[in-house]
């Protein structure tokens, strides 16, 4: 098969053995009638074997598209992946391998769980048939063995009476049970990486607790790595070690969960955490991030958060900030505050944040 040859830069060096997933300068564009949407715009991060990583952001931040690009589940076109982008998985670059090869990686080595378990399951087959199909495709075993494997994996995810449940159709199950089926299916081939895209968003809080505990237990027992995509900072705090915060297609902050959630350094993360209602803020006004997420067709010229940022100054409208290391920690933030140019303003911004966490106050006037 010959593809149209685009001048592709030569591949970089593979990451070391301990790195399971290494995403480098990932760019995903959508060509639509109105122009080009840069859904993911230069995202880089890596994930070690058996480690957990959270990707957080609001709707439209590009977190789901990042996962779909890694899985190569996007249709090209309308999607387009940057020529310089690389995704290394288990020592291999997977954006450039033939799609047939990629199918073997999906399911076998990388599995994905989606937000809405009802639409991800086929309504006309029993859950057992669906799990067994996946097992037979990837593990080259007979029908009988695949069926047994389906029962086993349902048992593994704590499904009561798995021998009966395996013969049921998706509509006969509750939302929590369906999500268990999705997890069973994802785990049936013992993947090295599990990508969970908002796995509990559609579930009630007590069922969410069940599924999170299940994911945690299984992740620890099987030693697979977990990439958890969510908008819920609470879920992130409980589930992962490291976290990537995304805004308008870019990474704005990356560090350990304790660093990022307790002492956020990117103004967007600071505002996000300030706006969560908590006991301490009772009686006071909640902090708000003024305005709305910018339209992907009219992104601000320099810093994408600048129009909503309470700390912005003239530099922020002329020069796009890069991800810079934050002093004294294993982390990066995308903000001029952490460059020498912002040094004089850093302390005031920190103080403002600490203040907002306790009293709850308006960061800037709300939109008129």
């Amino acid at each position: 098969m010959t593809e149209t040859i685009v001048a592709r830069p030569p591949l970089g060096a593979p990451p070391d053995r301990e790195t399971l997933l290494d995403v480098r300068d990932l760019k995903t564009y959508f060509r639509v009638l109105d122009g080009v949407v840069p859904a993911v715009d230069g995202v880089s991060f890596s994930l070690g074997r058996g480690q957990t990583l959270g990707i957080v952001g609001e709707s439209g931040s590009g977190k789901s598209v990042t996962a779909l690009t890694i899985m190569r589940l996007l249709d090209i076109p309308p999607a387009e992946i940057g020529v310089e982008s690389e995704v290394w998985f288990d020592g291999r670059e997977i954006l450039r391998i033939p799609i047939g090869e990629m199918r073997k990686v999906r399911g076998n080595d990388i599995a994905m769980i989606f937000q809405e378990p009802l639409t991800s399951l086929n309504p006309v087959f029993t859950v057992g048939e669906q799990i067994a199909e996946q097992v037979r495709l990837h593990m080259k075993v007979g029908a009988r063995a695949a069926w047994d494997r389906a029962i086993e994996s349902l048992q593994l995810v704590g499904m009561p009476s798995p021998k009966q449940r395996v013969k049921q159709y998706p509509h006969e199950m509750s939302g929590g049970m369906r999500q268990r089926v999705m997890i069973a299916m994802a785990l049936s081939c013992e993947p090295k990486l599990l990508i969970a895209d908002e796995p509990t968003t559609a579930l009630d809080v007590t069922i969410q607790a069940q599924i999170l505990e299940l994911l945690k237990t299984i992740q620890q027992r099987t030693g697979s790595a977990l990439m958890l995509i969510t908008h819920d900072l609470g879920v992130v705090a409980e589930m992962v070690d490291r976290v990537v915060v995304m805004y308008a297609g870019q990474v704005v902050e990356h560090g350990t969960v304790n660093d990022v959630l307790l002492e956020p350094r990117a103004p967007y993360t600071m505002g996000l955490i300030e706006s969560i209602p908590t006991v301490e803020k009772r009686g006071g006004r909640l902090s708000v991030i003024k305005g709305v997420v910018p339209s992907p067709f009219h992104l601000p010229p320099a810093c994408r958060f600048e129009p909503r940022c309470p700390y912005a100054w003239d530099l922020c409208t002329t020069e796009a900030p890069a991800l810079v290391p934050v002093a004294g920690a294993d982390r990066v933030a995308r903000c001029h505050l952490h460059t020498p140019a912002g040094e004089s303003r850093r302390a005031a911004a920190k103080a403002h944040h600490v203040d907002a966490m306790h009293t709850g106050q308006t960061m800037k006037e709300e939109p008129a």
Binding site: E58, T206, A209, G234, A237, L272, I276, P277, T278
Partner: protein, 364 residues
């Protein structure tokens, strides 16, 4: 029967603004060849509470617990099956259509879905102005000024009256929904999950707006939500619902610090906390909420109750429905064994609970 005059009845001053007692809403399920009633959904199954003037009373619970049905039955958007709802001491449930219309001006609702609740074919001026005209609060000439005033109150531009719902973002649509309710100058507003469809940063804008409006217009809210963190921040008193009944009711301080119903305790323990220092062991409930078509006999929570299990499955839980009774601490709880709940019992349960996942070695 007469309607409370439009300036609000002062006869009931000092009493609760809204009194609900024994409220039930049962939906029949028809089936079979003759479309006979074959079953009943016990959506709201005997609920009592009252809301004081000026307070924010919240109802929390998971999907299917009946909180939305309850909110709508209060306004008779859904006709209750039994029970009474009194507003300013006056019965709402028996009112004639005409009298109800007068009452509706004082009782408004903000809906959950900012996309589904605004008619896509109507400009904003019609969406907000329709109620004003129906209530005779304005005529065609002055309508648009009133609509513009309402838009301004919720932080939207006056020029937006000619626009259609699709031109607005989720947060803005929710503001329009709020403007629609507030244009009628109500006293009591049911807020049915007003922020659950919104992103966190937009959610805080809308919550702030609701708090400002309450202060400026002396509003009383019934706030319906499944988000326990929002409820804790936002409300004065909380009622926790499970399968059509209120299982616990008290002030936010009392309920979040000193919950007594086993369901409330599990619900609170399930909230994911954004502070990683407070990573905790959870009390995870087993199984799913039973169907409201066939709620368990006795206590509706008995099938999932960890306390009942700790106490050796007493018979009373399945033979007798617990009443909502007042405890010494002042809050109300519907559990026969609320006095047996202590921190060490909760800890013991958490320690005992194995993740309902078998060991890998058990399977192979």
């Amino acid at each position: 029967m007469t309607v409370a005059s439009s300036n609000g009845s002062t006869a009931a001053a000092g009493g609760p603004l809204l009194e609900v007692s024994g409220l039930k809403k049962h939906f029949p399920i028809h089936g079979g060849l003759l479309r006979r009633q074959i079953a009943t959904v016990y959506a709201v199954d005997g609920v009592d509470f009252e809301v004081q003037p000026g307070e924010i009373f919240s109802l929390v619970g998971e999907s299917g617990c009946g909180k939305t049905t309850l909110g709508r039955s209060l306004l008779r958007l859904i006709e209750p099956t039994a029970g009474s709802v009194k507003f300013h001491g006056q019965e709402v449930t028996g009112l004639s259509a005409d009298a109800l219309r007068g009452m509706r001006r004082k009782l408004q609702i903000i809906f959950q879905d900012p996309f589904g609740s605004l008619n896509p074919r109507m400009p904003i001026s019609d969406i907000i102005g329709e109620g004003l005209l129906a209530q005779g609060l304005t005529d065609r000439k002055t309508r648009d000024t009133k609509v513009e005033d309402a838009l301004e109150t919720v932080g939207l531009r006056r020029e937006y009256t000619r626009r259609y719902p699709h031109e607005f973002s989720g947060g803005q649509r929710q503001r329009i929904g709020i403007a629609r309710a507030l244009a009628l100058e109500p006293e009591f507003v049911v807020c049915d999950e007003p922020v659950s469809a919104l992103d966190v940063s937009i959610q805080s804008q809308v919550l702030n707006l609701l708090l400002d409006l309450r202060r400026d217009f002396n509003l009383t809210y019934l706030f319906i939500s499944h988000n326990l963190s929002v409820v804790q921040y936002f409300s004065d008193r909380v009622g926790v619902m499970y399968l059509g009944r209120i299982v616990e009711l008290g002030t936010v301080e009392e309920l979040y610090r000193n919950a007594r119903h086993p369901y409330t305790i599990a619900l609170l323990s399930a909230i994911p906390d954004p502070d990683p220092r407070r990573r905790k062991k959870r009390l995870v409930l087993k199984g799913d909420v039973p169907s409201p078509v066939a709620p368990p006999p006795g206590c509706h929570f008995s099938t999932r109750c960890w306390l009942r299990e700790q106490l050796g499955n007493p018979e009373r839980c399945v033979s007798e429905a617990p009443k909502l009774r007042t405890l010494q601490s002042g809050h109300r709880v519907a559990c026969h064994f609320a006095e047996d709940v202590a921190p060490d019992v909760v800890d013991a349960t958490i320690a005992q609970q194995k993740a309902d996942v078998p060991e890998l070695s058990d399977i192979a």
